[in-house]
Symmetry: C2
Subunit: 242 residues, 2 copies
Amino acid sequence: MAKRKFDEIYTDLKNKIETQEYSFNSCLPSEVELTKIYGCVRGTVHRAVKALIERGYLQMRQGSRIRVIFEPVERNIFRVGGIESFKEAALRNGFTYFTKVVKLEKVVADEEIATKTGFKIGDELYDVRRIRCIDGKALIFDKNYFLISATKGITEEIAEKSIYDYLENTLRMKIATSKRRITAELATAEDKNFLELDDYNCLVIISGRVFNADGIQFEYTESRHRPDYFCFEDTATRHKII
Amino acid sequence: MAKRKFDEIYTDLKNKIETQEYSFNSCLPSEVELTKIYGCVRGTVHRAVKALIERGYLQMRQGSRIRVIFEPVERNIFRVGGIESFKEAALRNGFTYFTKVVKLEKVVADEEIATKTGFKIGDELYDVRRIRCIDGKALIFDKNYFLISATKGITEEIAEKSIYDYLENTLRMKIATSKRRITAELATAEDKNFLELDDYNCLVIISGRVFNADGIQFEYTESRHRPDYFCFEDTATRHKII
DNA sequence: GCCGATTTGTCCGTATGTATC
DNA sequence: CGATACATACGGACAAATCGG
């Protein structure tokens, strides 16, 4: 995977930017100079640079040079970006955490479930509900449905550890795309029962449909966060499809 | 701008997918067949397809064909995706809306403002606060700071209409990148004063720093939404930098 | 399970256009 | 205006994964 020339350049530039070797508001060497540094054609450099633009590290303008717009920020917050899983985020922030499985049942999708989850009526699903505790406090409530035909064999032990480890490493499933939606709602009775909400009467909800490489939707996920344990970051570029 | 071959292909494929000419879960013609259709080389087709993958329309896997994973969804929700402005979202949903300017003052950034906004202490800024009303209800509270040296001449009339129109069309500023963060917080006294919060005691906050093409940050924006008028959608692809 | 055809993934080298300085 | 630098596209090559017989 990491033997793509393109990845090397991407990673190397990203590191140099993060360590301020290329510092905020300075300019990168021109693309032609970069081709000499990395020993490749301009197209390959260009591709790496565009990837860094989309991720908010660089900025380009035709005719002028490539500018660094990355600034390191202090952060002790619970991010849910494109990449980090719950576990990674907890670890990065130095929190202790554990998962408690409160439900693991087989259900058949009725109309209500089908509409909400994107599965078809009649599909057999695992209904998994878990509480995520951080520093001993119950802060996140995860509700998941998995298509049994694609994810056979999920047990409580697996749900407590990592379902994705099981799917990827044991079942050898290849996960491809995931469509997410972030919303916020009033907390339900179930939320209040399971979570320590303190003064908050709302939750932030990240819901998503996940597809495997065969184009089959195998999961619907809903992660209900106490507001202070939620943060999402991204970079948008206006007016351009890259 | 629209004379890029790549854009034509992107737009045409996107339309054909949205109108189900290429339907959910079916496969596209191979890249080679597409080059014949569009009269271009494979690299160009490939690039358009990758853009559609990042936006959740398609899925590819080396060796097998390109699959459509877009499904039209009912949507009567207030999205804040990468692209839509407040106005566009309101229009799309068929709501009436208007903006009320409750503050437009010049301020000098002190330490507190500087930390929060990313400007430097001593920078001269416009402090703009606006209420967004949808269907007659005050639902969104926008707090913005603009760097005066880059955005000279903002008036109440402009703030009521569209500051971005003014910046792009009158000042000819080129907006490039914007880093956003989505969080949720308890509503403040100011929020409760300006907004109709009903039962909600929290708000969803989209904050961001916006840079122009010269790499200058000219805006800090904070958009405080009542939870039921907020929705963010995106697509994530696992394990791969495209 | 093997093999060959198909299809996507990456990269090269080159050429031309366009914006900036 | 010319020099520089990025933007897009072409055509070709080979690698890697998939699929069907």
